[in-house]
Symmetry: C2
DNA sequence: ATAACTTCTGAAATCGATAACATGTCAACC
DNA sequence: GGTTGACATGTTATCGATTTCAGAAGTTAT
């Protein structure tokens, strides 16, 4: 494998001069620069980024951690992250937590090991106290999650407001018995949604019913299951905030198959505005979230810290969401 | 930041001894080993992987390149790759080609730069002659794509047979006018599908009709569009191989909305067996592909080469597929 | 004419680990 | 008792670039 010293020897210059050419430093005579470039071209030389990274103590790599990849929300998020990162000459290492704090812990270790320059957490599986200890090794940003006291940038959208908007839409449609689905109980983002839900009910003097709260709502199968649970209830809700388009699609499919009419018997609101909303019958009313932008924006914020010596600080950035009304409500 | 020399000094041993402990070499006395581990723990020391990688000339990183992430097929593929890689202490860098050869070229450059130890191509955007030149820098494996003469491992499934199976199923259902969708014309995988399609027709003495061949079929919107194209035809096919569940879902949705009955007026076969198949009305008959396994297997093959000095060689591995019959046919 | 820059170049140090090699100790064996 | 081999440890070189520092040559300002 060609090394910088070979180029230097052939051109009768020092390694330093070759390095200057490589890094576009000024103060290299035109003739030398051209000759060196020519030899580099001829020998098909590429500098070892292993050596470079070592010397400069930078990896030009960021880590993105999400619960899983094969959920369309996170796939899009990662797409956005990847786009923005590559645009800025950063590479992206991916990690899935599968909702397990140990896996997130492993990502943090990569920061400590200097395998990455910074981390984007698209999920939060550990206590803040655990995460906090890693801040000394590099910037960590929170994306699509929330934490009360985390002293780091948090890029997301207003979960409270989005949920309020969706539930309010159901109320305006005349519904009085409204159910709620969530995925994991302890995520602060989910708690914000629940608060938005309760607030919308309270503002209209509606009571909530614990029987109408459904957990572990991630995918289509969960939708099937939750549909069963609803239909088994003596007193059923007439509308449901599902928190997730997949769950919404599952419920719609199962309910329709069993002869229930959507939205007449049960109105459904999804969340995320994924493409699946367009192909179910009926199509799904949902909350549109600028997922790609979320990922891109987070990378831009991260790079701001990476390319300056700015101290990391709390900074809650909320992108706008939109209620997208379709046939399921 | 703590360095190995500090640990060595505190413990009154040489860096080598600390390094031995770090790498679980034998020939370190129990007392020294324990003391060193204790000090490492106390100082919260972690070896710099930057230095390690540089010294060992390995990155412990592989690159996976796919057309895009937010397509469920590739999201799952990447999930499988990520799982298998992490299991084997490799990290995964992700790249999207967006069907642009330049982006693939960039991935190859990462191999040349020694930013990754090996590459998995989940798409093939360049001529084989271009790719070939990079083999000297590290192993490159093809996954979910095919090439006649590529002298590298190719992990996929039998596209010809899968398509044959699907089209044959339509023929057995009595269809005589069968259409075909593809995504990009020049992918050899797509060509294999087309051959499977023609073979199934030929085996039953059916003619194919060029009007029933539809290109650029990637997503739901393409399904909508292709549906329009079909309905505009004077002589319409009665069945369609879509090559993609998204396209199938789009066509089903659009056709149903316009009053056409699926499968009575138009039978539809998808491809990939993604979760969307379960929520459309009717549900989608499709080809089940072990996508995750595809990703995992590819990583295992790659690591075989990475951890030995075996010469990379052509090796076509085909995982089994299954026809999954649902309501759309 | 001299001081003060600007431009250009190279020698040597450096980043933090691992690898190669040398050496010393002690027990087992013939 | 001398040889052999396993165990334990340290010294020094090394990976391939960038950075620091020093200095030469040429140019401009005073």
């Amino acid at each position: 494998m060609t090394r910088i010293s070979e180029i230097a020897k052939i051109c009768n210059v020092s390694k330093t001069t070759v390095s200057r050419v490589l890094n576009n430093h000024p103060y290299v005579s035109k003739e030398k620069r051209e000759q060196i470039l020519k030899v580099i071209e001829e020998l098909d030389y590429a500098p070892s980024s292993l050596a470079r990274n070592f010397r400069t103590n930078k990896t030009q790599t960021i880590a993105i951690s999400v619960p899983r990849f094969d959920h369309p929300f996170f796939a899009q998020l990662v797409k956005g992250v990847s786009l923005a990162a590559l645009d800025n000459d950063y590479k992206v290492l991916i990690f899935q937590t599968f909702y397990d704090s140990k896996n997130e812990w492993d990502v943090m270790e990569k920061l400590k090991n200097r395998e990455v320059d910074g981390v984007i957490l698209g999920a939060l599986e550990n206590e803040w106290n655990v995460i906090k200890n890693y801040l000394k090794y590099g910037p960590i940003l929170l994306c699509n999650e929330y934490h009360d006291s985390a002293s780091i940038p948090i890029i997301g959208y207003d979960e409270f407001e989005a949920t309020y908007k969706a539930v309010n839409h159901l109320i305006k449609k005349g519904h009085r018995k409204i159910g709620f689905c969530y995925d994991t109980a302890y995520s602060q983002a989910q708690i914000q949604r629940k608060e938005g839900f309760y607030k919308a009910l309270a503002d209209t003097n509606l009571l909530h019913n614990e029987d109408w709260i459904f957990g572990h709502g991630f995918n289509i199968e969960d939708g099937f299951r939750i549909c069963d649970e609803i239909l088994r209830l003596k007193e059923k809700p007439t509308a449901l905030f599902t928190g997730n388009d997949q769950v919404a699609a599952g419920i719609i499919k199962k309910a329709t198959m069993l002869g229930y009419k959507i939205p007449e018997h049960l109105a459904i609101v999804g969340y995320d505005n994924q493409s699946i909303c367009q192909v179910t019958t009926p199509t799904i009313t949902t909350i549109d979230i600028p997922i790609m932008e979320l990922g891109q924006r987070t990378v831009i914020e991260l790079i701001k810290y990476l390319s300056s010596d700015m101290e990391l600080r709390r900074d809650v950035i909320k992108l706008p969401t939109k209620l997208k009304i379709r046939e399921s409500t």
